[in-house]
């Protein structure tokens, strides 16, 4: 039984992949995504410099334009920032922080939002009404405003920005999973599970939730991209990451004051990196949505 199940699952996955590959842009997005994650994971072993090792830095090298060779003998392909850090290296390290914060916040929001959404759908009635009122209400506020309120109250720090991002994003997951679970709840296998006398928790998370994952994958992908963009924006405004943890947003903010004097590269290159991250994740998310959408299937 389990062997047969695995076989169909593997077949389903293969079909999913071949459906996915029908869009060349989406394949480019996926390849880019994989490259970005690989860079973030193993990049620091290959960067020309550790940008946070103060001994490796020389203030003489500050604000060198792209392609210039610094006093340490390193060619700075993307130039250097105001502290003489090699921008390419700083971007690789910043990528780790941006991706890390985005993924952690996305996963936490996924866990919280899914639990809340499944609870609302499973119990229905008053529980559902109250929970979804809160969700609808929260979604009627722009994300940036909620994050601003939270950070103004909580102050600065990595933990605080993760809290703010999770608080902004859980509602999207709750709404998505609820609308899927409300349909699934009426199916016979749920009734069967209930009549076996299984606990509410077991039915909710063992039976109901696994059948609501398809839309969740899509929302999770897009929300990770949104979390990364929001974190960058907040860091740019000076409300996000502390200086000791320079994400891509903070790197861009550092270059802001030099833009008017024509030193465009300090802000531009981290920005392009940020852009590639966000666009590639969105491309993948969009394609997964199209492939999983039964209405678009031929």
């Amino acid at each position: 039984m389990s062997v047969a199940l695995n076989a169909t699952e593997a077949g389903g996955f293969r079909r999913f992949l071949s459906d996915y590959a029908e869009s060349p842009t989406a394949v480019v997005g996926l390849v880019l995504c994989i490259l970005i994650v690989m860079t973030a994971l193993i990049g620091p072993w290959f960067t020309p410099q550790n940008p946070y090792d103060l001994r490796a830095l020389d203030l003489m090298d500050s604000r060198l334009p792209p392609g210039e060779v610094g006093t340490t003998g390193i060619t700075h392909w993307l130039g250097t920032d105001d502290q003489g850090r090699d921008l390419l290296s700083a971007i690789v390290y910043g990528l780790r922080i941006s991706l890390g914060v985005g993924v952690v916040a996305g996963v936490l929001a996924l866990l919280i939002g899914t639990t809340v959404g499944i609870t609302a759908a499973y119990f229905g009635g008053r529980v559902d009404t109250v929970i979804m009122r809160v969700v609808d209400f929260q979604l009627s506020f722009p994300a940036i405003l909620l994050a601003l309120i939270l950070l103004a109250v909580l102050g600065q720090g990595v933990d605080k920005i993760v809290i703010a991002l999770v608080a902004v994003q859980w509602a999207y997951f709750a709404r998505t999973v609820r609308s899927a679970a409300v349909v699934e709840r009426e199916r016979e296998y749920i009734e069967a599970a209930r009549s076996l006398g299984l606990s509410h928790r077991r039915v909710m998370f063992g039976h109901l939730m696994p059948n609501c994952t398809a839309p969740l994958i899509v929302v999770a992908t897009i929300q990770v991209a949104n979390a990364i963009a929001l974190e960058a924006t907040l860091s740019f405004l000076g409300l996000g990451m502390p200086v000791t943890q320079p994400s891509l947003g903070l790197l861009i903010a550092n270059g802001f004051q030099y833009i008017l004097s024509g030193r465009y590269w300090i802000s531009t290159f981290p920005g392009i990196a940020l852009l590639l991250v966000i666009v590639s994740i969105n491309l993948v998310g969009d394609r997964i949505r199209d492939v999983l959408n039964p209405r678009l299937q031929r």
């Binding site: 722009p142 940036i144 309120i149 609308s179 409300v182 000076g238 920005g271 666009v279």
Partner: protein, 325 residues
């Protein structure tokens, strides 16, 4: 309808109370309120006086009560930096933000509608592909970085437009306005465009969808078969019918434009509410922060109420309390 309105008003009131509690607890109870509310450079005597004056030695609920009563009277504290009522500072900065928001709405319509109509009229052309790809970029690019790139391109490299500030203003009915002078207009254009990018993408999508749907309708086919020119069919018969939903949706977006103005105003040093709040957070001018947050929450509750009312007029199911599944 009255019951619906009352219920929504009550919900709005609850939200304002909850938010005021969150902000109050955050600012007054987490951390040392003395550090937050009293200028750290003050002498111990002045600090003691201020503690008594602000009632920080009172029980928590009493403090919250005083805060609410004062807030209802329009007193949201005094700024440390400017030594003026916080509310006054915000209201002074408000016209600049509103001008920017309205200008970006106008740009969203001016750019979004023609592009969306073109993409909807020739849906399979390469031009439509370019427009739709552009709108995806408009949705996913971070506003602040696009703003920086606009400055790099138009101010630093080309030198066509100023990089920030508001420029010359003309005072109309006591409100300074930028768009009435040439200099002010040049200052307004880049920030307004930056803030508008997201909304341009939205309008393009709405217009394209509306255009494609409308062109299938019988009255369009009828207008065509009457032998009317293509120009007249598109710009009179179709255009009128797609315009209403677009303007409605855009009107509902004004709140989010004001919220996102925080980013654009910081990039372009535009002296509005958004720049004020960011500056205030950075220099720990907490009364201004509290005042801004409370004011924005109230504003959003009002906007959401208007949205709900609009929807309930359009779609009676909303009013009857049924939640569409």
């Amino acid at each position: 309808m009255t019951l619906f309105l009352l219920r929504r008003l009550l919900q709005g009131a609850i939200v304002v109370v909850v938010m005021s509690l969150v902000v109050f607890i955050g600012v007054y109870a987490i951390g040392n309120p003395v550090d937050i509310l009293i200028n750290p450079d003050a002498t111990p005597e002045i600090k003691q006086q201020a503690i008594e004056r602000l009632g920080l030695d009172r029980p928590f609920l009493e403090q919250y009560g005083t805060f609410v009563v004062r807030a209802l009277q329009g007193d949201l504290g005094r700024s440390f930096i400017y030594d003026e009522p916080a509310l006054k500072l915000i209201l002074q900065a408000m016209p600049a933000t509103l001008e920017l928001a309205i200008a970006s709405m106008v740009l969203a319509l001016v750019f979004g509608i023609p592009l969306g109509m073109a993409a909807g009229y020739w849906p399979d052309s390469w031009g439509a592909n370019v427009i739709m790809t552009g709108s995806i970029l408009g949705f996913s690019l971070p506003t602040f970085w696009v703003g920086l790139m606009l400055i790099v391109l138009f101010s630093v490299e080309l030198g066509w437009l100023p990089s920030g500030g508001r420029g010359e203003t003309v005072v109309v009915f006591g409100v300074p306005l930028s768009f009435l002078t040439w200099n002010g207009l040049t200052h307004l254009f880049l920030p307004a465009l930056n803030l508008a990018l997201f909304k341009i993408s939205l309008v393009i999508r709405l217009t394209r969808a509306g255009m494609r749907e409308t062109l299938q309708q019988d009255y369009i086919k009828y207008a065509r078969s009457k032998g009317l020119s293509r120009h007249r069919v598109v710009f009179v018969h179709a255009f009128r019918n797609i315009l209403i939903p677009i303007v409605t949706v855009l009107g509902l977006e004004i709140g989010s434009v004001i919220a996102f103005a925080v980013v654009t105003e910081t990039v372009f040093s535009w002296p509005g509410m958004g720049k004020l709040i960011i500056d205030s957070i950075n220099v720990l001018d907490r009364p201004v922060v509290v005042a801004y947050l409370m004011l924005t929450v109230v504003m959003f509750v009002v906007i959401n109420l208007l949205v709900d009312l609009t929807y309930s007029l359009v779609d009676p199911r909303v009013r009857l309390g049924g939640r569409p599944r």
